[in-house]
Symmetry: C2
């Protein structure tokens, strides 16, 4: 794969420069070049996230009214340092406290917790929720070890909307945690991704095979197996999530199909059609459907399926106004 890049070691800087130049009505750069903040700050609980780059539109694309107030941007596939999380907390705080809603990875966990201690010294109250939606990354008995992937979108949208509606810090945290508890995802990878500064794929997927349950950085999945048809893959992904949920009745669900980078929107809709058919056959009611590149893995070929067990509050907050650049117009 050839790409558009200047110095690959500075691709994140160049991206940030382009992003803030493109969207000055939404997001601003800050003194810390790796922290981007919302343009119009409101008197409310601040909501932030952070993480490695390479997952665009996450996390930058979710800065905006009704979603995130600030994000800390790391190098590609690497956590931002504690200082960047702290600076994002400082940017987002206006006396109502800050909710830090991030995906469960060792580096992010460590740096967020250090930043929270540092924020205490600045008299900023910070609480956090950790997305753990990737069912392939750890068994159900150790759910707290699971990684956060595209399901983070729902945590940010719902947490952000709760804060925008005037929720207290504890309310924002409780609502974001509720969404996390009701969200499951799984990925399938069919082509590897390449870190620009490395220039060669950081793992391989053999021809005619796929990696079921691959992680968002190419982490080993559940099983390498023969590449199935879109129908077989969609059914297997859906059933893996339903098995994990162990629903004992029909549910109202949200479904997100996210391309991991180089997977065409056409393919995403092919998968989506079968996922919706399978959920209907199992008696579930799908209330909301999202299809597109919401959380990616550089140029990986693959797809994530996320399912959310909705309740009335979550539906209302998903439908609340939001103005981030990564949000779709529906």
């Amino acid at each position: 794969m050839q790409i558009f890049v200047n110095d690959p070691d500075f691709i994140v800087e160049d991206m940030l420069k382009g992003f803030t130049a493109a969207h000055p009505e939404v997001a601003l750069s800050t003194l810390n070049e790796r922290v981007v903040t919302i343009k119009d700050k409101k008197k409310k609980v601040g909501v932030i996230t952070g993480g490695g780059s390479g997952h665009e539109p996450a996390f930058l694309g979710y800065v905006g009214e009704g979603m995130l107030d600030a994000v800390a941007i790391g190098e590609i596939f690497a956590s931002p340092p504690a200082q960047a999380f702290l600076d994002a907390m400082i940017e987002a705080d206006n006396g109502h406290g800050v909710a830090c809603l991030f995906g469960n990875y060792a580096g992010d966990n460590m740096n967020v917790k250090m930043a929270i201690q540092m924020a205490e010294d600045e008299d900023i109250e910070v609480k956090y929720v950790v997305a753990t939606d990737d069912i392939a990354s750890s068994p159900k008995e150790t759910r707290e070890k699971r990684h956060g992937i595209a399901g983070g979108y729902f945590m940010w949208k719902v947490g952000g909307a709760k804060a925008a509606a005037g929720g207290t810090l504890d309310e924002v945290i409780a609502t974001a945690q509720k969404v996390v508890d009701r969200t499951r995802s799984i990925c399938v990878g069919v082509n590897p991704c390449t870190i620009p500064a490395v220039g060669t794929p950081n793992f391989m997927i053999d021809p005619e095979t796929m990696e079921f349950g691959i992680g968002h950085h190419g982490e080993t999945g559940i099983e390498k197996k023969a590449l199935g048809s879109a129908k077989e893959i969609a059914i297997e992904m859906t059933e893996a999530i339903l098995t994990d949920f162990e629903f004992d009745e029909s549910k109202k669900l949200a479904v997100m199909i996210s391309g991991l980078g180089s997977t065409m929107l056409m393919e995403q809709y092919v998968i989506c059609g079968q996922v919706l058919e399978t959920l209907k056959e199992k008696g579930h009611q799908v209330e909301k459907v999202y299809v597109g590149n919401f959380v990616t893995s550089l140029d990986m070929g693959g797809i994530s399926l996320t399912i959310v067990d909705l309740d009335e509050e979550i539906i209302e907050l998903l439908e609340a106004e939001g103005q981030a650049t990564g949000l779709k117009n529906y």
Copy 2:
């Protein structure tokens, strides 16, 4: 590249099934399986388009309130038949006439014109505008031969908004034509694309090279040359368009960077940053910036740059409410 597909010969059918299942609040399938229509029809001029598949979210993603009322969907990279265009016209008409706003390709031109003749027999008045934004596809002296690429977005958004605001058929056509006259695009390709039913790339781009001015189906561009830095490429694309425009004063512009398929959003923002810098250096004022996959070419690696010479009416219509699934939330 491995992809998610059932029978590659039926990937368009499977995509359409997934699309209409995902977005029943926006778009509906019709008796003609290759025509998708808006759910809530309004009493106004109908606005339609059509074209080959493989350019998603175009054209399907632009069906919705304030944009398109119906689209005719062709096979991958192939025009829909005249009957599909006619059926889209019939779906979109409610007595106020239909504006068919399509991209300039031989097959589409022929089939639209046949469909217009057939529509006359049904007492439906149809007028059309042809997007010709791709400056690489023909010299300026033969501008009418140029192909339509991502610039079509502006024709659909502005034409759709004009119709939604109650414009007559002649007003919708005049406004869409004005936008076409003020829009220029150019592409750079760095990796080829693969038609699913073929399974191998339909053209090649040698390593360490790029194709400046490549078309949306891999049509030969202006020049095959050494792959430059993102900065060099962005400057060259911007200057090619400015040279074609021959502005004699500072202008208010809209800029769209569209990925062609497998090009990361990160790369798109890197290119965008330099395009905006170059336009500013030349004294132009960029009023609106769009970054993302708006019109693609299957899984091609590459990018298109589109620049629109705005006026107050175009700005107002671009900012008008729209609800299509391919629209961004800004």
